[in-house]
C-alpha cells in the first residue's frame, strides 16, 4: 500500500485515453465462509455456480423492472462513457459505466435473448465462464453506485442497479465481498456497522456530554433509549467516535438542546447506514431497516430524524416507507404500515433529514448563531452522491442541494461553490461509497477521488477555500484518508453540523 500516490491533475479536464486492464488486478478481498454464512449466503463458491447464477439472474430480471429494461435499452451511445470518476481516475475502459453494464449485459444476451443465443459474436454476447465471473467481482466492486451515469443516460440507465444485481448474484453463489458482508454481520449481531456495543456507546455519549460541558459550560444531553421522546435520531455509527463525524453529532445535540426538542438515540438501531443496499439484497436491506421501525415502535417516538449520511439518507428517504412503513400514505388496509404511521406526527415529513430539521428551526427563528465563529473558514460544499441523485429534502426537487447550503450560509460568512460541472446532480462521488471504503481498495479510492480533488484544488488556489463541508459519513471518512495523499490537510473535510456546532448560541438568547 505504501506506493499508492495520487494521480496527476488533468491540465484541462480532458477525457483520458483508454488503458485496458489498468485495474484488473485491483480486487477487493473476498469474504470467508464465516462472514458469508453469518448472513445466510453460501460460504464458498458453490459447485454448480454457473447454473445457479443464471437462475438467480432470471429471478432478478423478473423482480426488478429496472434491471430488465436497462439490459435491453442500452444503444451503446457512449453518453455515460466519460462520466464515472473511477474511469476518469483509472482510465480502465471497464470502468466506463456502459462497459461495466456490458459485463452483465453480454451474459444476459447470451442466455436470455434470441440473437445472443443464435449469434453471440454479432451482439457481443458471451458465456458465463469463471473468467467472466471473476471479472464481475473485480469490476462490480469498483462501482460506488453513485448514479452519476444515470443523470446523463438518455434512457436513465442506472449502473448502480446493475452493480447491485451483480453483487446479489455473486453473493447467492458464495462469492461475496469481505468488507460489506462483514459489516452487515455486525449490524445484526451488535447493532451498528462499527461493532460498537451498547455499553461502549453509552460511555461514549457520557464522555461527549462532559466534553461539551467543558467547552461551553452548558449541559447538552446525548440521551439514548428514552421512551416517549419526541424525536428518534438515527445516525451513522461513525458519528459516535470517528473524526470529524463526531463534531456533527455534537452539532445535532446542540440543535436539539437549543430548540428544546426531546430526543433520543437507540442502542438497538444505533446505525443509519444500510449496506444491504450496496449488495443489492432486498432481504438484508429490509432486515436492517426493520431495526429502525422496531426502535420507533418500542420508544413510541413521534418523529424520526436521520443524521449526516449519504446512502443512509437515500435508504431512509426513498426506501424506508416501502420497507418498514416509516412515512405516510399507506393504504388504510395496510396494517403493517398503519401501525407505525398512526404513531408518527405527520405535520412533519417522516423521516426528516437533520438538515431539514435544522433549516426549519432556523426559519422559525428558534436558533441563533454567531457567524464569526466560522470566520476562519472559507467553505465550499461537496454534494454527496446518494443525497444528490437518490433522495431529496424539503419536499421539492432540488431541496437536497439548497437546504444544506442555506444552513451553511446561515452559520458562516464565507461560502463559495466549486465548478458547477461537479456539484448538484452532476456531483462526483468521493470515491469511497457503495461498499468500497476499505483499505484493500485504497488504490481505487485515491484514483476515484481525482475529479473532486481537481476542482477543490481550483477553489483552494483561486478563492482560498480551506473547508469542504458535506453530509455523508463515508465522504468524511474517505476524504480524511485520501486528502493528505493529494496534499490537503485532513481537517479540511467536515460536516455541515460541525459548522452549526461552531456557531450556535446555546443557553439564554
Amino acid at each position: 500500500m505504501a506506493d499508492i500516490a495520487a494521480p496527476a491533475y488533468r491540465i484541462i479536464p480532458i477525457i483520458p485515453a483508454l488503458k485496458p486492464g489498468a485495474m484488473e488486478g485491483v480486487k477487493s478481498f473476498v469474504a470467508n465462509d464465516k462472514i458469508q454464512e453469518a448472513i445466510g449466503f453460501p460460504g464458498q463458491l458453490v459447485e454448480d455456480w454457473h447454473d445457479q447464477a443464471i437462475a438467480k439472474m432470471g429471478e432478478l430480471l423478473g423482480k426488478y423492472r429496472s434491471l430488465k429494461v436497462y439490459m435491453d435499452a442500452c444503444v451503446h451511445c457512449g453518453a455515460c462513457s466519460d462520466k464515472c470518476h473511477y474511469f476518469i481516475g483509472t482510465q480502465d475502459p471497464k470502468n466506463m459505466p456502459v462497459a461495466r453494464q456490458d459485463l452483465m449485459r453480454s451474459v444476459y444476451r447470451r442466455y436470455f435473448t434470441l440473437p445472443g443465443k443464435l449469434f453471440p459474436k454479432l451482439v457481443g454476447a458471451r458465456d458465463l465462464t469463471r473468467e467472466v465471473l471473476d471479472e464481475w467481482y473485480t469490476y462490480y466492486y469498483q462501482c460506488s453506485e453513485c448514479r452519476r451515469c444515470s443523470v446523463f443516460c438518455p434512457y436513465g440507465i442506472d449502473t448502480a442497479e446493475v452493480t447491485m444485481a451483480a453483487r446479489e448474484i455473486l453473493d447467492s453463489i458464495g462469492y461475496g465481498q469481505k468488507y460489506s458482508n462483514e459489516i452487515i454481520g455486525k449490524v445484526h449481531k451488535i447493532g451498528n456497522n462499527l461493532g460498537l456495543p451498547g455499553p461502549a456507546l453509552m460511555d461514549t455519549l457520557e464522555g461527549l456530554e462532559e466534553d461539551v460541558k467543558e467547552a461551553t459550560g452548558i449541559d447538552v444531553r446525548f440521551p439514548i433509549d428514552v421512551k416517549g421522546a419526541e424525536v428518534l435520531l438515527i445516525t451513522p455509527s461513525a458519528d459516535f467516535f470517528a473524526e470529524p463525524h463526531i463534531d456533527s453529532l455534537i452539532g445535532y445535540a446542540k440543535v436539539f438542546h437549543a430548540t428544546g426538542t426531546s430526543w433520543t438515540l437507540s442502542s438497538m438501531a444505533s446505525e443509519a447506514g444500510n449496506f444491504g443496499m450496496f449488495i443489492g439484497n432486498y432481504d438484508q436491506l429490509r432486515a436492517i431497516a426493520m431495526r429502525i421501525r422496531k426502535a420507533a415502535l418500542e420508544l413510541g417516538v413521534k418523529r424520526i430524524v436521520v443524521g449526516e449520511c449519504g446512502h443512509a439518507w437515500r435508504v431512509a428517504y426513498s426506501f424506508w416507507n416501502t420497507l418498514t412503513g416509516v412515512g405516510e400514505g399507506a393504504d388504510p388496509n395496510d396494517r403493517f404500515a398503519q401501525m407505525l404511521q398512526k404513531q408518527l406526527d405527520h405535520r412533519y415529513k417522516q423521516p426528516s433529514h437533520i438538515c431539514e430539521f435544522t433549516w426549519d428551526m432556523i426559519q422559525d427563528e428558534r436558533l441563533t448563531f454567531d457567524k464569526s465563529a466560522n470566520d476562519k473558514y472559507i467553505i465550499t460544499f461537496h454534494d454527496s452522491c446518494n443525497v444528490a441523485r437518490g433522495s431529496s429534502m424539503g419536499g421539492y426537487p432540488g431541496g437536497q442541494f439548497e437546504i444544506p447550503r442555506n444552513i451553511i450560509k446561515a452559520v458562516a460568512n464565507h461560502f463559495v461553490e466549486m465548478s458547477p460541472e461537479t456539484t448538484h446532480e452532476k456531483t462526483f462521488c468521493c470515491g469511497g461509497g457503495g461498499g468500497l471504503l476499505t483499505d484493500d481498495l485504497l488504490d481505487l479510492r485515491v484514483k476515484g477521488a481525482l475529479p473532486r480533488m481537481e476542482v477543490l484544488q481550483q477553489v483552494a488556489d483561486e478563492q482560498g477555500v480551506n473547508f469542504m463541508a458535506c453530509i455523508c459519513a463515508i465522504c468524511k471518512a474517505q476524504f480524511t484518508r485520501i486528502m493528505p495523499i493529494y496534499g490537503f490537510d485532513r481537517r479540511m473535510i467536515g460536516g455541515v453540523h460541525q459548522l452549526v456546532s461552531n456557531a450556535i448560541k446555546l443557553g439564554d438568547k
Binding site: R65, G124, C153, E425
Partner: protein, 246 residues
C-alpha cells in the same frame, strides 16, 4: 416478386406488432419494487409526464452528456420521424392534408437523416471510448439505416420508381386484398426491392434488438417514477408478501 414481398411484409408486420406488444407486456408486468427516480425528480405525475416528454422529444439527458452525440442523435431521430410521416402518403387514400404539406420537408429529412447516421457512425469508428464499447451489431444497425436512407434517396433523386404502383401494392396489403389487380403489383426495380427488404428486416429485428430503447425509455424507473416516497407508500406485490411472513 410481389408475392414474396407481400408475404414478407405481412410476416414482418406481425413480428413487429406482436413482438413489441409482448415486450411492452413484459415490462408492464415486472414490478419496480423500490422508488429509484434519478433526483432531482418531479414530485407530481404531471411533472413526470413533462420530464418524459423532454426526454423523448428533446433528449434532455443526452444534452447534458455530450453535445455532439445529442446533436447528431436528435438530427437522426427527428429526420427519421419526418421521413416516416412523409411515407404515410403511400398508405393513405386520399392523402391527409398535413401529410401532403410535409412532403418537401420529408424529402430533405432523408438527407439529414443520412448525415445524422453517418455522424453517429463516425463517432463510433473514431472516438476510442465508443469504438471500445461497440459490438458488430451496433455497426450493422447504423449500416442498415444508412442503406435504407440511401436506397430511398436514390429512388427520389436518381432512378425514379413508379410510386403510384408502390402505393397500390401497399393499399392492397392493408385492405387484405393483396395483388388483386395489376395496379397492386410492385414495379420491377432493384433499388425498390432493396429498400423494402431492408425495411422488413428492420421491422423483424425491432423487438429483439437495441431498438427496444424506444419502448424502454417509457418504462425506465429512474425517469418515470414520481419522487414522493415519503408521502405515499410504494410496495410491490412480492415485497408485500414478506410482511405477512414476518
Amino acid at each position: 416478386m410481389s408475392t414474396l414481398f407481400a408475404i414478407l411484409f405481412y410476416l414482418a408486420t406481425l413480428v413487429f406488432v406482436v413482438g413489441l406488444l409482448y415486450r411492452i407486456g413484459v415490462y408492464t408486468r415486472i414490478p419496480a419494487p423500490l422508488k429509484i427516480p434519478t433526483t432531482p425528480a418531479p414530485t407530481t405525475a404531471s411533472g413526470v409526464v413533462l420530464r418524459m416528454m423532454r426526454e423523448v422529444f428533446l433528449f434532455e439527458s443526452l444534452f447534458k452528456a455530450n453535445l455532439w452525440t445529442w446533436g447528431l442523435g436528435l438530427l437522426f431521430h427527428a429526420s427519421l420521424a419526418l421521413v416516416l410521416l412523409r411515407h404515410l402518403r403511400y398508405f393513405t387514400e386520399p392523402v391527409w392534408a398535413w401529410v401532403a404539406f410535409i412532403q418537401p420537408f420529408g424529402m430533405y429529412a432523408g438527407i439529414t437523416m443520412l448525415l445524422g447516421a453517418a455522424g453517429l457512425w463516425a463517432r463510433r469508428l473514431f472516438v476510442e471510448r465508443i469504438r471500445y464499447i461497440s459490438t458488430p451489431s451496433d455497426h450493422l444497425m447504423l449500416a442498415l439505416f444508412i442503406a435504407i436512407a440511401l436506397s430511398g434517396l436514390t429512388m427520389k433523386f436518381v432512378a425514379h420508381t413508379d410510386v403510384v404502383a408502390v402505393k397500390g401494392f401497399f393499399l392492397g396489403l392493408m385492405n387484405f386484398a393483396p395483388l388483386h389487380s395489376d395496379s397492386q403489383v410492385l414495379p420491377s426495380s432493384v433499388g425498390l426491392y432493396a429498400h423494402l427488404l431492408m425495411v422488413a428486416v428492420l421491422l423483424l429485428i425491432f423487438p429483439i434488438s437495441k431498438l427496444l430503447h424506444a419502448p424502454g425509455v417509457f418504462f425506465s424507473p429512474s425517469r418515470n417514477q414520481t419522487d414522493n416516497p415519503r408521502e405515499k407508500r410504494h410496495i410491490a406485490a412480492w415485497a408485500k408478501q414478506l410482511e405477512s411472513e414476518s
